[in-house]
């Protein structure tokens, strides 16, 4: 694949043409372009291998607090006119929103255009991805494990313009390699690496990490569910933060009373600080949001105190503050979203976090997490790909996967140690990316275990 982005001048002209067709309303045009490729392997061979190119224009018309929205990926004049006609038809029948339907004010992005964009990733070809898959598979073969996983690359452009004068554009790249390795007697291990720059990903290292974990996880024994001290590796911590973001880091969630974020109150331990920063190059940066607003750092939880939430233009207007640049395509019923999360590291080496734990659980990652009670931040899910028993200050043996049902603010109120290193993790389902340390928690509630297989 070669960098196939539309020429910036063409993008600019497209946005102008779209806005010019909206003659009797304020308008916002969002251009999204995506070239993505993914090489998937299972049973130690490539079994799916795909690429796609798409570009879409979304048009929002606003008049007297009424809104009409239409999108199309047909970008010629006829396609644009047809989209404008559909948006206008909706606008004509829409009821005014008494809470307003604001377009973002002009706010030029000062981000370096190269932030989060690496040409080598945009130009990655299927042979490069196949070589990465082969390196992972080789690590699995060496440990007598079956390898599965995916090696993906993506180039995405977001450009936003509106009739108030907003006009910002930013392109980013992402490469991601993950693997699950499995072997006899229930062996299972996981590793992931992600970065804007594909050269930062070492496929052999990813393979070796998963192979080591899988080799150590064979012949797992059962552990009685209950409350145990836990060490959560970065993958597991990242998943919890991903769901906390869905549940409560948005201004709309707070406004609607469904968030656990009790602003100004101590909701977690004093050693917890979590923030969102879309422009930090240590994450997967994106300079602007879907309203064109430059992303701001938002300190969500500082020293355990619920400090702030992220805003889009609509929630910011209602709160009397400025948008923090976390808007999704507006209007929407989801609200703003924190996509680029960070958690402050501590001073503990991950390897020594087990010391002092008489009997506890080491969790590599969580699987199929879901929200049980949003306001209390209660989540459930399973451990996966490397769950181990800690006895007398050391990891002694693998255990079968456990189900947890736990309030995360409660669990994060008793963090006993925080890893000194952080790791960038791309969430499995949502696209949220998180840079976090490993954690040791005083207690974590496991409420069930994977059962033994039913006999045939």
């Amino acid at each position: 694949m070669v960098d196939a982005r539309m020429d910036p001048a063409e993008v600019d002209a497209l946005l102008s043409r779209a806005l010019s067709l909206a003659t009797d309303a304020e308008a916002e045009a969002i251009f999204t372009e995506r070239s993505a490729a993914l090489t998937r392997f299972a049973n130690s061979r490539i079994h799916q291998n795909v690429a796609e190119r798409d570009a879409t224009l979304r048009l929002r018309l606003v008049r007297d607090d009424r809104t009409g929205v239409a999108s199309t990926n047909r970008l010629d004049d006829e396609g644009l006119r047809e989209a404008v006609a559909r948006a206008s038809a909706t606008l004509a029948l829409a009821t005014p929103n008494p809470r307003g339907a604001p377009l973002a004010a002009p706010n030029p992005s000062s981000a370096d255009p190269s932030l989060g964009f690496v040409t080598g990733t945009a130009n990655a070809d299927p042979d490069l991805r196949a070589a990465g898959a082969r390196a992972v598979i080789a690590a699995g073969d060496a440990a007598h494990l079956e390898s599965s996983g995916a090696f993906s690359t993506e180039t995405a452009t977001l450009a936003v313009a509106n009739t108030r004068g907003m006009r910002n554009v930013h392109s980013v790249t992402q490469a991601k390699l993950l693997t699950v390795m499995m072997g006899e007697n229930g062996a299972s291990g996981y590793a992931q690496a992600t970065a804007p720059d594909i050269r930062a990903i070492d496929p052999s290292a990813v393979g070796e990490e998963a192979a080591d974990k899988a080799t150590r996880s064979a012949d797992a024994v059962e552990l009685e569910p209950g409350e145990y001290p836990v060490v959560l590796e970065e993958y597991a911590v990242a998943t919890l933060l991903e769901y906390l973001s869905w549940v409560g880091f948005s201004a709309l969630a707070v406004e609607e009373g469904r968030s656990f974020m009790d602003l100004g109150q101590q909701i977690m331990g004093p050693n917890v600080s979590i923030w969102d920063d879309g422009q930090d190059p240590r994450g997967l940066p994106t300079a602007i949001d879907y309203e064109g607003v430059p992303k701001q750092r938002v300190d969500l939880i500082t020293n355990g105190v619920a400090h702030a939430v992220v805003h889009d233009t609509a929630t910011a207007a209602r709160a009397g503050v400025a948008s923090t640049g976390h808007g999704l395509p507006a209007p929407n019923s989801v609200g703003p979203m924190a996509w680029n999360l960070f958690m402050s590291p501590g001073s503990s080496a991950k390897e020594v976090m087990v010391s002092g734990i008489d009997r506890g659980v080491w969790v590599t990652r969580f699987h199929y997490v879901n929200i049980v009670h949003a306001k209390r931040g209660i989540l459930t899910g399973m451990t996966k790909d490397g769950t181990f028993l800690i006895e007398d200050g050391r990891i002694t043996r693998p255990i079968r996967n456990l189900r947890f049902s736990q309030s995360i603010p409660d669990a994060f109120s008793a963090i006993e140690a925080i890893g000194s290193e952080t790791r960038l993790v791309a969430a499995e389902y949502s696209g949220i990316n998180v840079r976090v340390p490993a954690l040791r928690l005083a207690k974590f509630a496991f409420t069930g275990a994977t059962g033994a297989e039913a006999p045939a």
Partner: protein, 482 residues
Amino acid sequence: MQELIDLALDVARTGGAGYADIRIVERATESLTVKNGNLAEASSNRSAGFGVRVLVDGAWGFAGSSRIERAEVERTAREAVAIARASGLATREPIVLDDSPPAVAEYRTPVREDPFAVPLDEKLRILFEADAVMSKVAGVTLRTSGMEFGRERKTFASTEGARIEQEIVDSGAGIEAMAFNDHEVQRRSYPQSASGQHVTAGFEAVRDLRLVENAQRIAEEAVALLDAPQCPSGKMTLIIDSPQLALQVHESCGHPIELDRVLGMEASFAGTSFLTLDKLDALQYGSEIVNMEADATAPGGLGTFGFDDEGVAAQKVPIVTAGRLVGYLTSRETAPIIGRRSMGSSRASGWNVIPLIRMTNVNLRPGSAGTLEDLIADTADGLFVSTNHSWSIDDRRLNFQFGTEIGWLIKDGRLTEMVKNPTYTGITPQFWGSCDAICGPSEWKLWGVPNCGKGEPMQTHGVGHGAAPARFRGVEVGVGRW
């Protein structure tokens, strides 16, 4: 159109493909959301494009593009071939497709009232009326009403001579009331959670939902839940209503019978399956009253179509018969591995992605326990739960936990006290083995699940599940600390 199809297939053949197909797809959607008396979302979307899939020396390649024009079709077909050759760098046995006959056919969803022709103000009238009814219930703090419609026109052609035209129309709607206080948040949805009921049908299906007529009840229940006692914990007899049982079927039967998952092809994403090949025709999956089938011909299901995205005709096949596992969901690549021909469940969520094995309509057949009222009357002590709130299942589809929006205790054959935050957990075969009663055909309904995710890149697709309320003995409920 024919010229572009021929071009894509010729370029693929010339590049060395032993097999190639092309799908040209145009999807239109409309989405409306009314929130607390305001039109919160009203959008109309169009996406069109094509995807070329090729087998070169027994290895797959796929490329898709939104630019349906000659030069791009040629470039994309070449890219698919190059990708397939890269796949060959890490392969084992060459992929061989089954001998499903190539079809030349057309299919259209039967529609009485085209949802895209119904005036917008008629749709909004229903949503605002439902919202107004909910607004009159004191204590409701957040009200949402929504509708979604889709129309997909697609052409499929292959180097084997298949040529299929389809138009699939889907319609969905639902309402939701939430009530909050300082410590609690409660939700009630109708007719089910996650944006309501969705079917392949026209606007007539939305009218049949009677959203306005059900708005007051669900709003009152949301408020009542705030002060309801917490669901008790322990092992109980559990009766599950039809829409929640549909999701139970989805997670604990629908996903584990996907043959690609069974064969390890989904291991790196949502996991594998406990229903390994040695279980076929051998495992007692549930009690003898448990019968399930995959039926892509069921009228109105979100998994209903004429042909799947490999050109295989829609079929109805048994999955669990008298509690025994007898079938899988298959594709042309995987069916030969178990000595069968594809039963037609290979589906792509759009032009830009490959078909994967997806559920069609995986249905629990009705039983003989009469109506829900009859079943409750036949239960001395237990818990009745309704409407999904949360779901989670392990990576082999064994250990699950569900939360529902509402529950009622059952005493002496009657519903008594309402309880909040009900949850239940179990292990799949033991759970279905504990099923001792399933309501009859009058209670059976085909539910749509519009948000089923699978694969990398993840595809979100609509699938269907028919179910009638059923009873399970000795189920662990009220999980965790509250």
